[in-house]
């Protein structure tokens, strides 16, 4: 019983791992924005990034 469960579990882990590698999944957080106007190419400043108000670390020891 435990062996069967572990067999299924192991196959699932390896399958998900293979799919992740094949499809290029990532653990990073990236926002997707649809339909960005083509005018951005001529006027880059018109685009407003999701991360534009990021709090920047200005520290150091």
């Amino acid at each position: 019983m435990i062996r069967s469960l572990f067999l299924i579990y192991g196959i699932a882990v390896l399958s998900v791992l293979s799919l992740a590698e094949y499809r290029g999944w990532s653990l990073n957080r990236v926002s997707e924005v649809p339909n960005v106007p083509k005018s951005v190419r001529d006027n880059p400043g018109s685009y407003r990034s999701v991360y534009g108000y990021y709090h920047h670390y200005t520290g150091g020891k």
Partner: protein, 465 residues
């Protein structure tokens, strides 16, 4: 005394009267009974004497535990029917605390005697060995029919209560030394009384097995702890589970090699830029269009910035020129270093890497918007893009995902064995004595193999011969 099975059919029952109190006694093993105990006055009587000579009378505590299996009941053990004809309790004392286990005498006129022992809900089906085990002097193991048994416990036990009939001269207060050798689910026990050594073998039974065998009402008491010869529920599976885990890990390595060997891992963009922080103007810009080829895969973006006790933040948007679909993210590159009373220090890095997941093929460009503190001079930085880069992090997670359950299963198995050997005088692997850590449960485990139950019986057989 005749120890062999009677040629009769059904078990015979004989009624007698106690010479002490006159109460009726029922003898089920008939001529095999050597002693019989009166249930009313607790006199131990000589069943071989026509006048039932009184051998001993003992006092019974008022809070005496009730028998789990009533005397006279019949059950089926290993395909044969047995009557429960006797009961005794045996006790050891550890640091002044008494610990007891129970032994039931079973009788079948064709099969003879066998015994059931019980401690803390753990049961053993015990019978006398017909051949001697091979035991080297000073060895912590013995061999019986090709199977190795390891020493588990040694203890002295005293008979503290008896009831029913016995095929030996039973006495309350008599004591014997026991040694148990285990090879779960079996235990071989030796009992030493005087110059006699008797060997018996017990096989672990669950309370449910016993209840089913005797068709007892209700449910058996729950087993407490791990018993000396209790079979591990994982023993049969642990080897195949570890083999399976090994196969999975081998497949993981093959996948790792395969993905690294077949990945494009192609550099598709590499450009250097400058960011003048002294100029307050629109800093965003777009790159030239580049092509991402192949199947949907990841894109790894690396930013390298020449920052000295400074930072640069870059708002990135990887935009598909044809569809307008964008992947929006921001990355900071900062590096600080210096020297203080603790010595030199540094934190951060001039290099940052991010993986954009599952990007379809197409023509893309980057929209970049750098930020930093004003008036910190010019920051030089470069942006590199690589396509279809294998991610080692997934293999690390896969390794963990496979190792954790395999580790848990192994831990459960080892913990079961640890709990078993924690009760042993011999500490499992080393075979060394460790009496200081022993408790009553361990001593009970040592002796409840119940070799002692049959010692007197065998002694009488020898005397007859």
């Amino acid at each position: 005394m005749n120890s062999g099975p009677t040629p009769a059919g059904a078990p015979q029952v004989k009624s007698l009267n106690c010479p002490n109190c006159g109460a009726t006694l029922t003898v089920r093993s008939f001529s095999h009974a050597v002693t019989v105990v009166c249930d009313s006055c607790h006199s131990i009587l000589d069943a071989q004497d026509p006048k039932l000579k009184i051998l001993q009378t003992f006092q019974v505590a008022t809070d005496e535990d009730p028998l789990r299996i009533p005397l006279g009941i019949r059950g089926t053990i290993r395909g044969a029917q047995y009557d429960v004809i006797g009961f005794q309790r045996r006790t050891i004392h550890v640091d002044g605390t008494p610990y007891s286990w129970h032994e039931y005498v079973l009788f079948n006129p064709f099969k003879g005697f066998r015994y059931l022992t019980e401690y803390n809900g753990h049961w053993n089906d015990v019978s006398v060995l017909r051949a001697l085990p091979v035991c080297s002097p000073g060895s912590s193991t013995l061999n019986y029919l090709g199977e190795t048994y390891r020493i588990f416990q040694t203890a002295d036990a005293e008979t503290t209560f008896v009831l029913g009939e016995f095929p030996w001269q039973v006495r309350v207060g008599e004591s014997a030394q026991f040694s148990d050798y285990i090879s779960p689910p079996r235990v071989i026990s030796s009992e030493t009384t005087g110059k006699e050594i008797t060997w018996s073998m017990g096989e672990y039974m669950t309370g449910g097995d016993v209840w089913k065998a005797f068709k007892l009402p209700g449910s058996p008491p729950a087993a407490i702890g791990v018993y000396e010869n209790q079979p591990s529920p994982l023993r049969a599976e642990i080897k195949s589970l570890l083999q399976l885990a090994g196969i999975f890990l081998a497949i993981l390595v093959v996948l790792l090699i395969g993905f690294y060997a077949t990945a494009q891992d192609e550099q598709i963009f590499d450009q250097s830029y400058t960011f003048n922080t002294n100029v307050k103007s629109e800093s965003s810009f777009v790159t030239d269009v580049f092509e991402l080829k192949g199947r949907t895969s990841d894109v790894e973006l690396t930013t390298t910035a020449q920052v000295e006790n400074n930072w640069i933040y870059l708002n990135y948007a990887l935009i598909n020129e044809e569809t307008g679909h964008a992947y929006d993210f921001g990355r900071e590159v900062s590096y600080y270093h210096g020297y203080d009373s603790d010595g030199s220090w540094s934190e951060g890095s001039r290099r940052d890497t991010v993986v954009v997941p599952s990007v379809p093929a197409g023509h893309y460009y980057l929209r970049v918007e750098p930020e930093s503190d004003y008036y910190r001079g010019t920051i030089y930085y470069s942006i590199t893009l690589r396509r279809d880069v294998p991610q080692l992090s997934f293999f690390g997670l896969g390794l963990l995902a496979l190792l954790i359950p395999a580790g848990l299963i192994t831990w459960r198995f080892m913990n079961f064995e640890h709990l078993r050997w924690a009760e042993s005088d011999y500490g499992g692997e080393s075979g060394g004595s460790d009496d200081d850590d022993d408790d009553g449960g361990g001593k009970i485990a040592a002796v409840a193999g119940a070799a002692g139950t049959v010692a007197g019986f065998v002694a009488d057989v020898l005397e007859d011969e």
